[in-house]
């Protein structure tokens, strides 16, 4: 089926992710496994604070693969090169998003020429410069963006998400 082939393209794009992508994936896996689960029932979801990378690891417009809030939730960390609303870091241009399409959960690929994430399943697309706004598509929400904090050393931490991530009814998985 052509559709499956397209999905595979998307997955390869995610796994490939470039040299820095490998570092990003490694960063995601150092997170203690237990941290991904809520300790007690509280009114709000407790998100882990997860170090994703250092500012120095990022090259402009080259996404790094990450996993957040845990390794099963793929995303990208991206230095856009231009200031954006909600951008983190010294240049206010670092953003991170889930790359599971909120429509049906297909892995999306990054298109550097116009800084968009694109879904091979049903062709939805999202603008990485506009907080993950769906440019056109079938998802009923904009893309989950991860809240970032950059410390004095330039280490980038993810500390939350602003929409429900596809495939989980709690962004932080609970037992």
């Amino acid at each position: 089926m052509k559709c499956n082939r397209l999905v595979d393209v998307g997955r390869r794009q995610f796994l490939r992710g470039g040299v820095l992508g490998a570092a990003g994936a490694a960063a995601a896996t150092v997170m203690p496994a237990g941290q991904a689960q809520a300790q007690t029932a509280r009114a709000m979801v407790d998100y882990p604070s997860t170090r994703l990378a250092n500012v120095a690891d990022l090259a402009v417009n080259e996404p790094m693969d990450i996993g957040y809030p845990d390794a099963d939730s793929p995303g990208i960390l991206l230095k856009l090169g231009t200031v954006v609303e909600g951008g983190a870091g010294p240049d206010a241009d670092i953003v991170a998003y889930s790359v599971l399409c909120p429509h049906k959960g297909f892995y999306m690929s990054y298109h550097a020429a116009d800084k968009t994430l694109n879904c091979p399943g049903h062709f939805s697309r999202f603008d990485c410069e506009k907080g993950g706004q769906q440019i056109w598509g079938h998802a009923t929400q904009n893309l989950p963006q991860f809240t970032l904090r950059v410390d004095d050393k330039g280490d980038i931490y993810a500390e939350g998400a602003d929409e429900l991530i596809y495939g989980r009814l709690s962004n932080v998985l609970q037992g």
Binding site: V45, H103, S109, T140, N171
Partner: protein, 819 residues
């Protein structure tokens, strides 16, 4: 910042939650959904839930074990607050678990006291009193409506009552509600001055195909999956019938189908077809606007000349002779035999190319893909879908007829992988007494109202202000005429009911119009109303409709109506009761008797009184059992505990839609005659830009709920107009700038969206938006049967403002996917 809900988790549906069959109430495709409800203080867990999955783990793509925040709400059910999840049904043959960006927001677009969604829904009847609308009881509101209405109607004299009433299914339409209004206005009364929700007269949008014997919904969606060629004309299914495209057309392409798209604009559909089928298998015929008829007549001529026709089918199933129905006031073209149509429609490839702007090679390529027999001599299975691009375009009658000609000539109607069908807007759900008294051509209601016609106007979920042509003038006149009545009512504040009715009737006789608005929200034309009556939608009532392949389903009521809102059929029944009472009080006994037969208490009563009377096999109980796959109409029987339907019409080669006893289909003899509607050629000559217009993916077409949906309004705070970047440079425009679109009939506004694939001087504007009514710039020209020509509109464009603050924040990137 871009709108985000900041919902980190959702309540889990527990095992044992109530499950309801739901058909999406938006477009004609009618995707299957399931609504789950459960008590507010209960919830499922990650290991004990409705679906028996371990929800402590990440779920994979296309999982059934996930739902988006837009699919969740808290609503009232039997007076209690309950959780509600409405999610796509993976087992429904229509959509196989896919949800569109419209339907998958149904739950979020329910009215909720708890979450505050859709607070715009009407909850109580209101009457104009003390200079504004005041809430009142149903009996008080209906008494006023009945007393005023009774003053302007009498037995066999009902021409001063104007009625605008929806005829669709889904949403608040459906068989129950069309029967309710139909029995009142076409049964008890014989109202002649009426119109339908999206056009200014009471007429078919597809007269010619019906006159030819071919119902416009004749195939099964599965035909797309086995076709050799999919031909799409003036339709953009990726955006407007999304899961028909994704779940059926895509599968057809994956199975090897080629695609022809006839559209002046490169739509998302064209791009998506290229993604799926490869560019070599997609032929986009970007014709000059309005030249469809020339294209189809050229294709018909070429195909016939090549002998690529189904001679047996033509001989056995179509009319033999010359002219069967001559051209007259009711028939904008003659109808007759294949050979007669060949003679009347003849157009050379050279002439066709010159008129359409296509190359001869493109036209010949299209003809081959449509009709050239395969190497073994067998028929190419070609399925054709068409919609508003030609329905609301130039020369409606002849264009649709010409397209059906091709289907008939090639034997592609009533056959597997074939069909020539409209793709549709709403679902359908029409069951009414005969409308023959309306006449043909039907009265042009909106122009009659502008000219002073009508004294009392009953409006059932129509919003002329957003969805008519010549809208600017209509609004000016309607505001003036309804204000005359409001002023008369204000002047008699404190008067008795009898005195108030006298004052209203005096204002009516002086040129005013008394406006009664039945709707689910306070619409734009509702601002002019004197009485407002709150209605419900499907899900707030049980409702039956059929989709674009005639698939009949029952939406089960899963929540309470907002406030005291009622189903339209029940409102119609109560209005009939009040009319009967008032007429009897006035001693008009014989006329009063005509309003008997409205003792319905539930929507099921209306269904049994109407639809069931013509389809005795079909009951709510049997439809519940049929679930989201329902049954395809016409229903032929009930066997082994299941309704027996008809997947495809005319498989026996007998065509009946025109009522001819011989069962022979007719060909349309409509020759090309340029831009047909009055004023179009002149408008084109005097204005720079084509203002093509239509629907878009994100919002439902009339925006009625979406205008209060944050996700939608964040993306497009003002309706967009797509413009070529070079044209933008000429006009000094930036993305997001607010422009005024103006011409000889009116003006409207839009935000500029750059579209590199748009041809120069050809724009596309979204239709039916509340804050940028495209109808303002459409002239009053229609075809002979009062079919509006919305598409061929020309205007000039000038900047009126920088982007609004909301519009300045949104993305202006291309809609075409980059993989």
């Amino acid at each position: 910042m871009t709108y985000k809900r900041n919902i980190d988790r959702l309540p889990i549906i527990p095992a044992g939650a109530k499950e309801h069959n739901v058909t999406c109430h938006y477009c004609i495709v009618g995707c299957g959904y399931k609504a789950y409800t459960w008590p507010l203080k209960k919830q499922g867990t990650t290991d004990s839930n409705w679906i028996g999955e371990d929800l402590s783990k990440q779920q994979g793509a296309e999982t059934e074990a996930w739902y988006a925040p837009s699919m969740y709400n808290v609503v009232k059910q039997n007076g209690q607050d309950v959780h509600l999840v409405i999610k796509p049904d993976a087992n429904c043959v229509v959509n196989s678990g896919l949800g569109s960006v419209r339907g998958a927001r149904m739950a979020e677009n329910r009215r909720s006291d708890i979450t505050g969604t859709q607070a715009q829904r009407l909850t109580e009847p209101m009457v104009w009193r003390y200079g504004t609308w005041q809430p009142t009881s149903w009996d008080d509101a209906l008494d006023l409506v009945a007393r005023v209405t009774a003053r302007v109607i009498d037995k066999d004299d009902e021409n001063d009552l104007y009625v605008s009433m929806f005829d669709h299914g889904g949403s608040a339409g459906g068989y129950e509600n069309t029967w309710g209004t139909g029995k009142l206005y076409f049964g008890s009364m014989k109202v002649k001055h009426c119109r339908i929700h999206n056009r200014p007269a009471y007429n078919s949008e597809v007269h010619s195909t019906r006159d030819m014997g071919v119902d416009e919904l004749n195939y099964s969606y599965s035909d797309y999956q086995v076709a050799d060629t999919i031909m799409l004309v003036g339709t953009n299914p990726m955006e407007c019938q999304t899961n028909l495209f994704l779940n059926h057309m895509v599968k057809g392409m994956q199975n090897g189908a080629k695609v022809i798209v006839v559209d002046p604009r490169r739509t998302v559909t064209v791009d998506s077809c290229e993604q799926v089928a490869g560019t070599e298998n997609v032929l986009h015929l970007a014709i000059a606007t309005g030249s469809d008829l020339a294209l189809f007549n050229t294709l018909f001529t070429y195909i016939a000349d090549q002998g690529w026709v189904d001679a047996d089918f033509i001989a056995n199933s179509t009319f033999q002779g010359d002219v069967a129905v001559p051209e007259d006031a009711a028939h904008p073209a003659s109808l007759g035999s294949f050979e007669a149509a060949r003679a009347a429609c003849r157009m050379s490839v050279a002439d066709g190319a010159a008129i359409t702007g296509l190359t001869e090679a493109q036209i010949i390529q299209a003809a081959e893909w449509i009709a050239k027999p395969k190497e073994d001599g067998s028929r190419r299975k070609t399925v054709t879908g068409y919609e508003k691009g030609i329905i609301w375009g130039n020369d409606n009658y002849r264009v649709i007829g010409a397209l059906v000609n091709i289907g008939l000539a090639t034997g592609n109607i009533g056959r597997e992988g074939g069909g020539v069908c409209r793709l549709g807007g709403h679902q359908e759900g029409y069951f009414r007494p005969s409308d023959a008294h309306v006449g043909r051509p039907a009265p042009y209601i909106d122009q009659l109202i502008i000219a002073g016609g009508g004294k009392v106007h009953h409006i059932w979920a129509n919003d002329h202000y957003k969805t008519t042509l010549n809208a600017a003038e209509f609004k000016r006149v309607y505001n003036r005429r309804t204000n005359m009545v409001k002023e008369a009512m204000d002047a008699r504040a404190g008067a008795t009911r009898e005195e108030l009715v006298d004052a209203i009737v005096s204002a009516i006789n002086a040129g005013g119009i008394f406006s009664v608005n039945v709707d689910i929200i306070h619409s734009q034309i509702g601002q002019a109303a004197h009485v407002i009556l709150p209605a419900v939608e499907s899900g707030e009532m049980n409702l039956t409709s059929m989709n674009g392949e005639r698939r009949l389903r029952l939406v089960e009521k899963y929540m309470d109506a907002p406030g005291s809102a009622q189903p339209d059929c029940i409102i119609a029944a109560r209005l009939a009761n009040h009319l009967e009472r008032v007429l009897r009080e006035e001693g008009r006994v014989e006329y009063a008797d005509q309003f008997k037969g409205f003792d319905w208490q539930t929507e099921e009563d209306a269904f049994m009184d109407g639809y069931n009377s013509g389809n005795p096999e079909v009951t709510y109980e049997r439809l519940r059992a049929a679930g989201n796959d329902g049954v395809q109409e016409p229903v032929k029987g009930y066997d082994n505990g299941a309704l027996v339907g008809t997947p495809r019409l005319y498989e026996d080669g007998v065509f009946t839609r025109h009522g001819r006893e011989d069962g022979k289909a007719l060909f349309c003899m409509g020759s090309w005659r340029g831009l047909q509607a009055p004023g179009k050629t002149q408008q084109q000559a005097n204005h720079r830009f084509l203002i093509n217009n239509g629907r878009a993916n994100l919002n439902w077409q009339n925006w009625f709920l979406d205008q209060k949906n944050d996700f939608v309004m964040d993306r497009f705070p003002v309706p967009f107009i797509q413009i070529n970047p070079d044209d933008m440079a000429d006009l000094g425009l930036k993305p997001g700038d607010m422009v005024e679109v103006y011409n000889d009939v009116g003006a409207t506004q839009a935000l500029v969206y750059p579209e590199p694939t748009a041809r120069k001087n050809e724009t596309f504007m979204i239709f039916g938006a509340p804050n940028g009514t495209q109808g303002n710039v459409i002239n009053a020209g229609t075809n002979e049967l009062i079919l509006p020509n919305y598409k061929q509109t020309w205007a000039n464009i000038r900047k009126i403002s920088d982007a609004t603050p909301a519009a300045a924040r949104v993305s202006y990137k291309s809609w075409e996917v980059e993989l």
